[in-house]
């Protein structure tokens, strides 16, 4: 009687994992394609409010972003009142004019009137700040604005 018996036939064969890399690669490509590398590092809290009558922004049109909200936990030295952020820096309403001018300078001339200012404002910000931003935008004649929101029920905004 031999010590090394041959394995019995008939047990379940191991599941082939040969296609696992393919599956993972597929997922990988999906995320690579869907990823948009963030344009700006946010220094503020930026929880957008909800709305349901939204229109998509065409990525081919020029868009500039103005952020506003309470400084995030790392920047408590900036106070707790909502602030404006332009590019990577905290800014005040007065800086918007220069910002719009810089954004316009980077565009082709025929694109300038199409520039949309997207306001990404934290839901807890006060309207006073927004009014200041809007006033400055009106003074620089950047009149196309978009209140960036998430898709959702607008009535769920208040009192959360």
């Amino acid at each position: 009687m031999s010590k090394f018996k041959k394995k019995k036939e008939g047990g379940l064969p191991p599941i082939s994992t040969a296609s696992l890399p393919d599956i993972v690669f597929m997922l990988l490509f999906f995320f690579m394609v869907a990823t948009v590398i963030k344009e700006d590092n946010l220094k503020i809290e930026n929880k957008l409010p909800f709305a349901d009558q939204i229109e998509k922004l065409d990525k081919k049109k020029p868009i500039s972003y103005i952020y506003a909200g309470k400084p995030s936990a790392r920047f408590t030295n900036m106070g707790t009142e909502a602030r404006i952020q332009l590019n990577d820096k905290f800014a005040s309403a007065k800086d918007i004019k220069a910002f719009v001018a810089a954004e316009r300078a980077a565009l082709r001339e025929d694109q300038i009137p199409k520039l949309i200012m997207a306001l990404k404002v934290d839901e807890k910000a006060n309207m006073g700040l927004i009014m200041d931003i809007k006033e400055e935008l009106r003074k620089t004649n950047a009149l196309k604005i978009n209140y960036t929101t998430k898709k959702g029920d607008a009535t769920s905004n208040a009192g959360r």
Partner: protein
């Protein structure tokens, strides 16, 4: 002597490498939110206009959001507080009223022709005022309801005008703005959208914020 075949490359760790990359992209992904409420600001005027346009009180729907985020509306000659969920119906009732007589008569309105409410779509103005301490989220909700009310009426008119398109105003507008729609289709849609936009223009005024 038989030629020895080249040893096969071990691909067992391929999955691990791919997983590593996958997890990296999963963590860094931030699916962008690039949608929102489009609005247009009025141009800035250095000197306040002396030639004020007189608008009849009945053609103005005044919404004021105070610093406690309460919504106050002034329509049909009375002032009242309202809830956000009732706001849309109030705006639709105001816009759709059609109380105009003679040349101001509204051809498309289906409202109850209240004498203290708007004459027609073109005359009706929505005015939104807010305090400096109003929360942004409340303001957005109100803006959303104003746009929703207009969209509701525009949908109705669009369906009535172009019943065989099988879509409403909002769907048509989305299709128009979709970069994948071809140019021919876009030109056709633009014309139709413009008809409805002219019929029900969004006349929206934002009063300067009250100083608190």
């Amino acid at each position: 002597m038989a030629k020895r075949s080249a040893p096969e490359v071990n691909a067992g760790s391929m999955a691990d490498i791919a997983f590593l990359l996958l997890i990296f992209f999963l963590v860094t992904t931030d699916i962008a939110t690039d949608s929102g409420l489009n609005r247009k600001l009025p141009p800035w005027e250095d000197k306040p206009d002396d030639t004020e346009v007189k608008i009849k009180q009945r053609n103005i729907f005044q919404i004021t959001v105070n610093k406690k985020d309460q919504i106050q509306i002034k329509t049909r000659g009375d002032d009242k507080l309202t809830e956000l969920k009732d706001l849309r119906a109030e705006i639709v009732a105001f816009l759709d009223n059609g109380g105009g007589q003679g040349e101001d008569a509204c051809q498309y309105c289906q409202g109850d022709k209240h004498p203290e409410s708007s004459d027609n779509f073109v005359k009706a103005v929505i005015s939104l005022g807010n305090d400096r301490l109003t929360k942004y989220e409340t303001y957005i909700s109100v803006q959303n309801e104003v746009i929703a009310a207009y969209n509701e009426l525009r949908n109705r008119e669009f369906l009535k005008e172009y019943p065989n398109l099988n879509m409403n105003y909002v769907q048509a507008n989305n299709m128009y703005q979709d970069p994948q729609t071809d140019q021919d289709e876009k030109d056709k849609l633009k014309e139709k959208l413009q008809v409805i936009k002219d019929r029900i223009p969004q006349i929206f005024s934002e009063a300067e914020t009250k100083k608190s």
